[in-house]
């Protein structure tokens, strides 16, 4: 265990002490947790001395915690006519609507919904043993993201959601937290079996409770399956560090719709591995920063098999004194011939003090590939504004029309049926 760095890093030291006190003895998983901690402790909580965190100092967001208030969370599963719901809870006095049926964990810490969805509690030894392959893969994957490793080294209330059949309603991740100043580290693994369609919606907490959430969301998409993942971050005063790992098998198709607005601090670490040939990943990102919002998107796409396709379109709007960051890396392995990889980041700056950073990167080892990347940062076009105004449209309306037009391209791409309620106020 690397303790040298901890001498100076009080924050990581605190984490270490908590970890020591809360040891769970399970040989199969402890080895992994230890490795994760070792990886994490190489850097500790990342500051802007690390290249990937150049504009984002994660230690700052922990400053308000005199004590690290890491809480265990409970997972509860509900079913209603319109959705399946994974609730992340702290308090025992839950509120839930009438049409929701609460599904109890069975004695062996397992939930089976009509054989379609089977959820395992991964704190249970027998489940760890049974799903050790997927866990090995998860922990083994070259993870140079310290925040994901911090989550892994705690591995609090982890669940594995197996999706075995087509589901005609989405799975929604929902937070139910009423206390203030909580640090949460949920870890959810979705395993989508072959030839299945599934939608997953992750709604981050929208209250004003000053939480820090450092989650791990892993999604395995098997052959010929199609997964839509919505990540809705409208999280007010809460700080979110989202670590998402996606693994795509042959002929699978994955769509990420990531909408971020009105959020104090967001860091998205998204890593997508196209491991099977003909797999496809589409990323639609829309971020809107106001006040002193800090939004940082860090995207890594790994093309590891032939004939794979990825397309990233990230559109950002920043106003007031907010900061919007896009850092996108496309890696093409030498095996991944015939790769098509596209990336575009457009940012609109609406005020003098708002800032935007963009850093597209390509790392290509195959010789038969088609890759493109581009980025623009600009202000509202003076000529477009003038044109609208000469038609009698006021400056304010003209500005809002052009701003809306800017995000129209991305809203057009997103299937809005599940998320209309959450994006109305953009």
């Amino acid at each position: 265990m690397n303790l040298d760095i901890l001498e100076e890093d009080i924050l990581s030291k605190k984490f270490f002490e908590i970890l020591e006190n809360k040891k769970i003895y399970n040989p199969a998983i402890n080895k992994h947790k230890l490795k994760a901690w070792n990886n994490f402790s190489k850097t500790g909580i990342p500051t802007n001395k690390i290249e990937d965190y150049k504009y984002t100092d994660c230690r700052k967001i922990f400053e308000k915690f005199s004590d690290l208030n890491i809480k265990r969370h409970d997972i509860k599963i509900y079913q209603s006519d319109s959705e399946y719901r994974i609730d992340i809870n702290l308090c025992s006095n839950l509120k839930f609507q009438k049409d929701n049926t609460f599904i109890e964990w069975s004695q062996n810490k397992k939930i089976d919904i009509d054989g379609k969805i089977v959820v395992y509690d991964l704190n249970d030894e027998s489940h760890i043993a049974k799903n050790i392959n997927i866990l090995n893969k998860l922990f083994k994957s070259k993870n140079d993201n310290p925040m994901a490793e911090l989550n892994n080294s705690f591995f609090i209330s982890p669940i594995l959601v197996n999706i075995n059949k087509d589901i005609n309603k989405p799975i929604k991740i929902n937070y139910n937290i009423e206390e203030n100043d909580i640090l949460l580290m949920p870890n959810i693994i979705f395993n989508i079996q072959s030839d299945i369609k599934a939608s997953i919606i992750n709604i981050y907490p929208q209250n004003k409770k000053n939480h820090i959430i450092n989650d791990n969301i892993s999604i395995f998409v098997d052959k010929y399956s199609k997964a839509d993942y919505y990540s809705i971050q409208n999280s007010n005063e809460n700080c979110i560090i989202n670590n998402s790992q996606i693994y795509l098998e042959e002929n699978s198709n994955f769509i990420l719709n990531n909408i971020t607005h009105s959020s104090k601090f967001i860091r998205n670490n998204i890593s997508i591995s196209l491991e099977g040939k003909n797999s496809e990943a589409h990323l639609n990102g829309l971020y809107y920063g106001k006040n002193d919002n800090h939004i940082d998107n860090n995207i890594q796409i790994n093309h590891l098999a032939p004939n794979t396709y990825s397309n990233q379109l990230y559109k950002g709007i920043v106003t007031d004194t907010s900061l919007g960051i896009f850092n996108g890396k496309i890696f093409v392995d030498k095996l991944a011939q015939k790769t098509n990889a596209f990336q575009l980041n457009n940012v609109l700056i609406l005020s003098e003090k708002a800032k935007a950073k963009t850093k597209p990167q390509l790392e290509i080892y195959a010789d038969d590939v088609k890759c493109s990347h581009g980025a623009t940062i600009g202000q509202l076009d003076e000529d477009q504004l003038f044109y609208l105004r000469t038609r009698g449209i006021s400056l304010d309306i003209a500005k809002s029309m052009i701003t809306k037009a800017f995000i129209e391209e991305i809203l057009d791409k997103i299937d809005k049926k599940y998320i209309m309620d959450y994006i109305d106020n953009i």
Partner: protein
């Protein structure tokens, strides 16, 4: 209706654009902006129901005059007066001028990706109705009205559903300008080189529509290089603008004379 007296104006240009003005004399130099004198004492009076043609060589200030009248922020008046219906035009924002009835058809209409053309025209029209304290136009009436005008100007129907001017040909952009004019029914239309780059059919459609929209109440300023559009339009006056000044005014025959002899001979006559 419009009264321009001794109008002088400058343009503020960003350094990156200054090549366009390299043959003009620079007056002031600040850090990023350069200033050029574009209008040097213009007098022009337009009465209701009149069509005025302004002709002149490249860089003489024709488009500057049009942009200044519409309120483009790059142009700054340094002397003289403009009154429109007895109000000081120079004190108004571009949208206020439009709401009072001034319309500028752009020489190079602006493309706005993401805004539907028909939605844009409807927003402008409803905005005007709101100012005039009229009711919003019903969707049905709007469709009838726009369809009528669209047919008259021969604009392809699918261009209404496209984004404003995006993917339009040069001629389609100009037809779209006249469509907006027909919908908004301005008191004073300023048409900046509406006829340049048009084929004979488009010229005919646009010329005929300008004449069609002309009534006893509204007026038109038509800026052009060529007399060919006069086949369809009967102007009341023709002005020659050279180096920021109107050097000669006359009737249609002046336009024909320019077409034959060029601007220089006329400029020298006056000087």
């Amino acid at each position: 209706m419009l009264n321009i007296e001794n109008l002088e104006a400058i343009i503020k240009v960003h350094k990156a654009e200054k090549n366009k003005f390299k043959d003009k004399k620079k007056s002031v130099k600040s850090s990023n902006l350069s200033e050029y004198k574009v209008l040097k004492g213009i007098n022009l009076k337009i009465n209701p129901g009149e069509i005025h043609i302004i002709m002149g060589p490249n860089g003489s200030g024709k488009s500057s005059l049009a942009s200044l009248l519409a309120g483009h922020p790059k142009y700054i008046c340094t002397g003289g007066k403009i009154s429109f219906e007895n109000e000081n035009l120079l004190e108004m924002e571009p949208e206020e001028r439009a709401q009072k009835g001034i319309f500028l058809a752009f020489q190079y209409p602006i493309e706005i990706p993401g805004i539907n053309n028909s939605y844009f025209i409807k927003t402008a029209l409803n905005n005007k109705n709101e100012i005039l304290e009229k009711n919003k136009i019903s969707p049905k009436d709007f469709l009838t009205l726009i369809e009528e005008n669209r047919k008259s100007i021969n604009l392809d129907k699918k261009l209404l559903k496209r984004h404003v001017n995006c993917g339009f040909s040069g001629g389609e952009k100009k037809r779209n300008e006249i469509l907006q004019m027909a919908m908004l029914k301005p008191k004073l239309a300023i048409l900046d080189e509406i006829d340049s780059g048009l084929d004979v059919d488009a010229l005919k459609d646009i010329g005929e529509n300008i004449q069609r929209l002309q009534t006893k109440e509204n007026s038109t300023i038509l800026i052009t290089h060529y007399a060919r559009i006069l086949k369809y339009i009967n102007p009341d006056k023709v002005h020659i603008l050279v180096d920021g000044k109107i050097i000669k005014s006359g009737d249609t025959t002046l336009a024909q004379q320019i077409e034959k002899e060029g601007y220089l001979s006329n400029a020298s006559i006056n000087n």
